[in-house]
């Protein structure tokens, strides 16, 4: 029996196990929307902006490990997805985005609502397709999900011309066969053996875990490695949750706003075991001065990540989980070491650094400190929540003061640093986890970038909580202006203590709006919000002067850190660094 492209599209999604599509309609995708109208298997979540749809599908993917799906119309619908796609691309998140396209005979004619989205999205997708013939459609959909999920995951876009969705053919479901695409999953055993021997030999080792650990589902193996060898673990922003933040071997995050002890440990280590990371400049600081004395073992599924930014002594291309499984086995069976003895001096040293400069801030009774809000959220949820963030200081304070114990509990735009990510991502995560507490820790600037998704949350009865750390500023910008631009706050003041009234905005959308001005109100507001089974905005009016510390100025080595108490002295030093 012949069926239409639109029907093939839906049947293919069903076979891929898709339950939700995040989307927005328009002319060329109306045939698909019409079919969705009474489809029992797949529900479309109508967002209020295509960017929101893509971030929501990304939040769904990050929180579940399954591919997220978005569907938009041609032209502006398609171009509105670009930020969301680029966000997923930078963080290796599997999503499949379907964009409508003008009918094939009109492509290239500057037709109404035509945009070359395949061209536009080429550099920020893992792969993309323009479907030219309905006979190819089911194969392309199947391939797209496979490509998105396998190897180093990433977004795939499929451009669907209207006539293709209208034409008919038999449904087929061909096996995937891409001769030019064969990700390497098994690490080279010889390299792993060499790595094991280095681990046994060197005494000042640090593990640096990144998003790849989470993507490969390798947290258990990572923990085994760390516990068995007693090597401390630091994490990149994307790696938070891959290893328990409350574990006594955890050093927290490293890098620009990393902990003193993580950065010191990396810099003084003689062995850095980098797992599922890509050495972003926010992590390495000045590259020539990064971990200067360390041998580097680098495990990653993407060969291009290895030796891209830092020199590597033992490269291991493969899936983190599988490589760690082999490595652990070799370490347990062949390299029988008394790890405790070997590491003793080193762990004593690391503990000293911990004591020397723990993560702190100055609590106040008068004004709410943003870090205090994050701490309270952690305390009240006991870490049992899915946290999303926006971008800026809010993101860094969350990374520092919320202890992530489990993978897929922090959803944040690490690579692209997309303001406006957190709220729609929380919506996607909440949909996938209806009984979980999902909280977006937001900035007053970022939240306004996708605030329209309040409607999506409310209409779909998604009890997402948004905790706005309202410092009335583009706080991270303000921080840099204070430190590096002579306190000239050029266009970073948002006046968001007065405009808008976030609580009222929430109420206007049918959500609940709460506000806290004094430190004593923080806990009651959070408790109330967590009790309410509705979408809640919490507006925490926080100390606008607060800065994220420690801080490594851009381009400095990561042990050249600035601390809160040394603000004034630091300023001089900073100028010297610049």
């Amino acid at each position: 029996m012949k069926i239409t492209g639109a029907e093939i599209f839906l049947e293919s999604l069903k076979r891929e196990g898709v339950k939700y599509i995040f989307g927005y309609p328009g002319g060329v995708v109306l045939a698909i929307f019409d079919l969705l109208y009474d489809n029992k298997d797949i529900q479309l979540i109508l967002t209020r902006h295509e960017q929101g749809a893509v971030h929501a599908s990304d939040g769904y993917a990050r929180s579940t490990g399954k591919a997220g799906v978005a569907l938009v119309t041609s032209g502006p619908g398609a171009t509105n997805t670009v930020t969301g796609i680029a966000t997923a691309f930078m963080d290796s998140i599997p999503i499949v985005v379907f964009s409508g396209q003008v009918p094939t005979p009109l492509i290239g004619n500057d037709a109404f609502q035509e945009a070359d989205i395949v061209g536009i999205s080429r550099p920020c997708t893992k792969y993309n397709y323009l479907v030219k013939d309905v006979k190819e459609l089911s194969r392309i959909v199947r391939e797209a999900f496979y490509i998105a999920m396998s190897g180093r995951p990433g977004p795939v876009l499929i451009d669907l011309p209207r006539d293709v969705t209208a034409s008919k053919t038999e449904f087929t479901w061909p096996e995937i066969d891409i001769r030019s695409y064969n990700p390497t999953y098994e690490g080279n055993r010889w390299m792993i053996v060499k790595a094991a021997h280095l681990i046994a030999k060197l005494k000042k080792a640090v593990i640096m875990a990144g998003g790849g650990v989470i993507l490969s589902g390798g947290s258990k193996e990572l923990r085994e490695l760390a516990e068995h060898t007693e090597i401390p673990v630091t994490m990149t922003l994307m790696g938070l949750g891959s290893f328990p933040g409350t574990h006594n071997l955890s050093l927290g995050m490293l890098g620009m706003h990393g902990t003193y002890y993580a950065n010191r440990a990396v810099q003084e280590s003689d062995l850095l075991i980098a797992i599922g990371v890509r050495f972003d400049d926010r992590v390495t600081g000045k590259i020539d001065a990064f971990a200067p004395n360390a041998k580097i073992i680098h495990i990653d599924i993407d060969p291009t990540s290895i030796k891209k930014n830092v020199r590597v002594d033992i490269p291991i291309v493969g899936d983190v989980k599988r490589v760690l499984t082999v490595l652990n086995k070799i370490l347990e069976e062949d390299v029988k070491e008394q790890w405790g003895e070997v590491r003793k001096a080193w762990s004593r040293q690391v503990d000293e650094w911990r004591k020397e400069r723990p993560l702190t801030y100055t609590f106040s009774n008068e004004v709410i400190k943003p870090q205090f809000v994050v701490e309270k959220i952690y305390e009240l949820t006991k870490g049992d929540a899915i946290i999303t963030t926006e971008v800026g200081q809010n993101q860094m304070w969350t990374a520092q003061f919320y202890k992530f114990d489990k993978p897929r509990t922090l959803l944040t735009s690490g690579g692209l640093g997309t303001m406006g990510y957190g709220f729609p991502a929380a919506i996607g995560a909440q949909l996938a986890h209806p009984n979980k507490l999902v909280i977006d820790i937001a900035g007053d600037g970022s939240i306004q970038m996708n605030i329209q998704e309040l409607a999506t949350a409310v209409v779909n009865k998604l009890p997402v909580k948004v905790a706005i750390l309202n410092n009335h500023y583009l706080g991270m910008v303000r921080q840099w202006q204070e430190l590096f631009f002579n306190e000239r706050y050029s266009y970073s003041h948002l006046h968001s203590d007065v405009v808008p009234d976030f609580a009222k905005v929430a109420e206007a959308y049918g959500a609940v709006g709460l506000r806290a001005i004094k430190p004593s109100e923080v806990e009651p507001v959070l408790k109330e919000a967590f009790k309410i089974k509705k979408t809640v905005f919490m507006d925490f009016i926080v100390d606008w002067k607060e800065k994220v510390y420690p801080m490594v100025p851009a381009g400095a080595p990561i042990d050249h850190m600035l601390f809160e108490e040394a603000e004034k002295k630091a300023e001089k030093k900073l100028k010297a660094v610049k």
Binding site: P123, Y127, S180
Partner: protein
Amino acid sequence: MRHTISLLVENKFGVLSRIAGLFSGRGYNIESLSVGETIDPQISIMTIVTSGDDQIIEQITKQLNKLIDVIKVVDMTEFDHVEREMVLIKVAPKQEEKAEVLRLAEIFRGRIVDSSQNTYTIEVTGDEKKIEAIIELLKPMGIKEFVRTGKIAIAREGVKK
């Protein structure tokens, strides 16, 4: 250092722009590029001449390999190989230099593929040095324009450097 990289790619639309985009997006430079069919019409072969230090060349080959439509990447520089390029040169020599132009063409085993009242168009094939040499020699005799194909390369059978 300069490298000649040979790529087998799927013969699909958009592949060239993926490869060009990779080079431009990452700031690598393409000195020449040529594309053509292979024995299998579904596969095209591209020859790219690029330059960079070892680390950059390693990244380029890895990044090319990572592209989904790329089937195989060979850095020809690692192999004994034959390289060829073709040039079409249009010269407009003075009357008294015409004979010299024809003589040079012959020395370089070039062919005159077109001639007019005032011009000759010469076709020359060879490696890069040869092409550059004939261009240099003809320059004083008034080259109007020339067009080069870019390099193609093929490995010599059975020898690895």
